[in-house]
Symmetry: C2
Subunit: 514 residues, 2 copies
């Protein structure tokens, strides 16, 4: 009887492909309602476009079209002037989940998972049955035009059509076109706001948006491209036992010492030999031949080894100047400060936190505005679940003259922008909308916020003092005529004259203070 | 030049296996810090154990051992008396991600993804390099003992050893053993609390826990097992265009009418023929031969078709009586109510919400306690991101005499338990710790909470009235001697006598009210 149940269960057992897994759980990727889904499709295409323009050091010019087709359907077209995709890779880059160029590369990147645009493709075929259309050119030869779907059962691209077009101008770039179900909104978590924030954090990008409400152009603020972040090798303090074991198994190096120096950053020959000694392993040992206990010893020796922090040119921060400019353009505060922290490290992974804080001006009086970014991509959803929000709440803003309900975000008129840059962002899910609460990350964000708080404190306090002074002055002015009258009685001088002199006095005092 | 960048990027492009993806993003599965990781390993093994016992209608007896091995390592052993796993399936059931028995089956289930225990296996080999050990018997033949690892690069099980043992008693069940890194805590989000809540929501389960602090036994409250939830076919209102297309392609049925009646629930011959007519398709059309436009017409006709809601015997609620018992056992309120709502449907998927609310007694005065469950599994983390929390906050508890800070959880002494049961739970991530905010789900949870609120209102108000009466009485008693003295002066009677009569009067009034 029990054996029968086991057999019944066994009959149901099978594998599903990762494409089918994400088709079923499309809300993991950001497709949980029509509004968010439409935004996610645009986001994935735009993030890719900017990412690869930056890699090629081309100031991005991105055209985004969202055209309603009726029946809750939209045609989305995103076109860039990037380096293009090599022809034979196009089907995989757009039609195979977990296929990408970023997995084995440690550097700051907008696309980490090899899921994004494939998720959009899955969503299109799920809701409208239409293939994704990709036009791409690397600047040489003809333009390749593919219509692609994903064979969900096997997670393989299905080429619906493949044609080519002439490319007399030698134009390069990629254009994707999708037809999806969705709902368009123009406020709040909307496509225009997403593009606005994207432009704010990528000031070298020009974004031209044609939506249901007309055309908007987000001009670039600078032509200067940041140097593309460099790739780094894993740091010995960041590797895990299981990964070390696989690295040892897969390496082409013949000896432990050359394995350590070639496969890790910050490990020279001396360090490598010291690590071997500590692990009681011969430097010439063959990496593939270590036993589990030997690997454990090696792992512990690596963890304890004194090595420099990883290089940080794998990171590409925005910088204080552009942060302030971006914030001012977006929300028009009367005063803004920014802090770019030096790079920090957790588990061998370098990361960097930047913060901008704006005060007063056109900011709403009631609520603090919070802008979150990870690797130059705006985070819109799951604010409550993000370590950035946690950090903002945990900082004591009253120290900086800003009121704050206990355990809540501080009160307005305040805008806070936080940018988290890292070679690996611990997103809470594939949808990449919130950062997980690693203690090292939380601490670093709080330090950045506190630094910005100290910078803005003097201004906030001065504003507060000026407000008080103004009130005192108004009060005094109100009583001036009465004072003048009394003085007339006392001194016998004309009250008009006295009033004039008193007013002069106030003006001169004001001048002094200024 | 641009072409060079495209080639460079192309060189980096490759596929990673879903096992490697989750190894890299293990925090998606709940492995983001040592405390949570240890809990997740236990949770995955225990959830599986209870799930398959229930499927076989065996009152579960689960033994859980957590043994510290030093150096932040723990040996975790979870043993059940379930139906066991068929021998040849063991390597896949424990060593291949996205392999499972639940994908193509629509019914309420604790395991949905085919990831859980494989994630634990990945985590073990990543942190300690040790294989998972599985002993299983279906009651017939010998006991099979496997040591398994996952070949991460290929997502295939790697059999380290396979032996058998005699099974003279014909014992059935599964025992898994893992060695992992972690941190053990005994309070808060801890293993003992997880097991306690698991026992509370599965009152027919006996759980024996041997941890670092000794042995605890959670006895079963009932021997009676709920009928195992039935599997259902997809409902025509729940299918998506892309899925319908694949179903048409993969079906063995020869005609559209037989496809519709066999592959969907609630579609009889008459309905099927009506759908075909509405879609302008011949009932005898071959499913595989429909064009995309024809499939679209069929899809729309299915969406519009008037069909009964899906059957709900695929659901297994806990019931009001056991909910109240569980809550009373766990937190000892002085009064508790429960509500099991009738099943509801979203996107063709049946689901059911149950709520229990406890008041007073040993509950903390300050904060409301919130217990969240999905398909009889406790949800511990990401409370802020869960639709259950959102629903509790959005209900106006002041209507029921309970104070509530604006937009927050209500205040104590209050405990709220919410159980969400469904054939498909929209978890926010693979870690299965929070439910996504689908509007239909939110609405139904709020209705259940409001119903419970109305039930508890009378009690809360009465308590409030009694408290007020008590205060009045105390006040009166305090002034009694003064009143008696005044009356003595007025009436000339002795004040002792008057005092006695007044006290008698109060007592009799009290008796009346009672």
């Amino acid at each position: 009887m029990k054996g029968e149940v086991a057999k019944e269960i066994a009959k149901d057992m099978r594998e599903i492909s990762v494409a089918e897994f994400f088709e079923r759980n499309k809300h993991f990727l950001g497709y949980e309602n029509p509004t968010k889904s439409l935004l996610t499709v645009v986001k994935e295409a735009v993030d890719n476009a900017i990412e690869f323009c930056c890699e090629a050091m081309i100031p991005p010019e991105i055209k985004v079209k969202v055209k309603p087709l009726g029946d809750n359907r939209f045609r989305i077209v995103v076109e860039d002037n990037g380096p293009g995709v090599v022809e034979e890779k196009i089907p995989y880059a757009f039609g195979k989940v977990l296929y990408g160029s970023r997995f084995h590369v440690l550097k700051q990147s907008r696309s980490l998972f090899g899921i994004g645009i494939k998720g959009a493709c899955l969503y299109a075929q799920l809701t409208t049955g239409k293939p994704i259309k990709v036009e791409s050119s690397t600047g040489k030869g003809r333009i390749h035009v593919y219509e692609l779907m994903i064979d969900v059962t096997r997670n393989e691209p299905k080429i619906i059509s493949h044609t080519t077009k002439e490319n007399p101008g030698g134009k390069h770039g990629t254009k994707v076109e999708l037809v999806v179900e969705g709902r368009y909104v123009s406020a709040g978590h909307s496509i225009p706001n997403y593009l606005k924030q994207t432009a704010m954090i990528n000031p070298y990008a020009k974004i031209i948006f044609e939506g249901p409400d007309g055309k908007t152009v987000f001009e670039r603020v600078t032509e200067e491209m940041p140097p593309p972040p460099k790739r780094i090798k894993p740091h010995p303090h960041g590797v895990e036992l299981g990964v070390l074991r696989r690295m040892l198994f897969l390496t082409r190096e013949r000896s432990l010492v050359s394995f350590l120096t070639k496969e890790f950053c910050r490990v020279g020959k001396t360090t490598a030999e010291r690590v071997c000694r500590q692990a009681r392993l011969p430097p010439s040992a063959k990496p593939q031949e270590l036993s589990l206990t030997e690997i454990e010893r090696l792992y512990r020796a690596l963890q304890r080894a004194k090595v420099k922090a990883p290089p940080t040119d794998c990171l590409s921060p925005i910088g204080e100047k552009l942060l302030i400019e971006g914030l001012k353009k977006e929300v028009k505060p009367e005063f803004a400060v920014a802090v770019t922290r030096p790079p920090a490290v957790y588990r061998g992974i370098p990361f960097q936190v930047e913060v901008a804080v704006g005060y007063g001006g056109e900011l709403p009086q009631e609520n603090c505005l919070l802008f979150r970014f990870a690797n130059k991509v705006p985070l819109f959803y799951h604010q409550g679940d993000c370590v950035i929000t946690q950090a903002v709440k945990e900082v004591d803003w009253t120290r900086y003259g800003i009121s704050q309900p206990k355990g809540q975000l501080p009160a307005g008129p305040l805008a806070i922008l936080v940018h988290f840059a890292s070679v690996w962002v611990p997103f809470t899910s594939e949808g990449k909308q919130a950062i997980a609460g690693y203690p090292e990350v939380l601490k670093e964000i709080k330090l950045a916020l506190q630094e910005a708080g100290r910078k803005i404190k003097r201004y906030v306090r001065k504003k507060e003092r000026m407000r008080e002074m103004l009130m005192r002055k108004r009060m005094f002015e109100r009583y001036l005529p009465v004072v003048a009258e009394s003085l007339e009685t006392l001194t016998g001088k004309g009250k008009e004259e006295i009033l004039k002199k008193l007013e002069e006095m106030i003006r001169s005092r004001e001048g002094e203070r200024k």
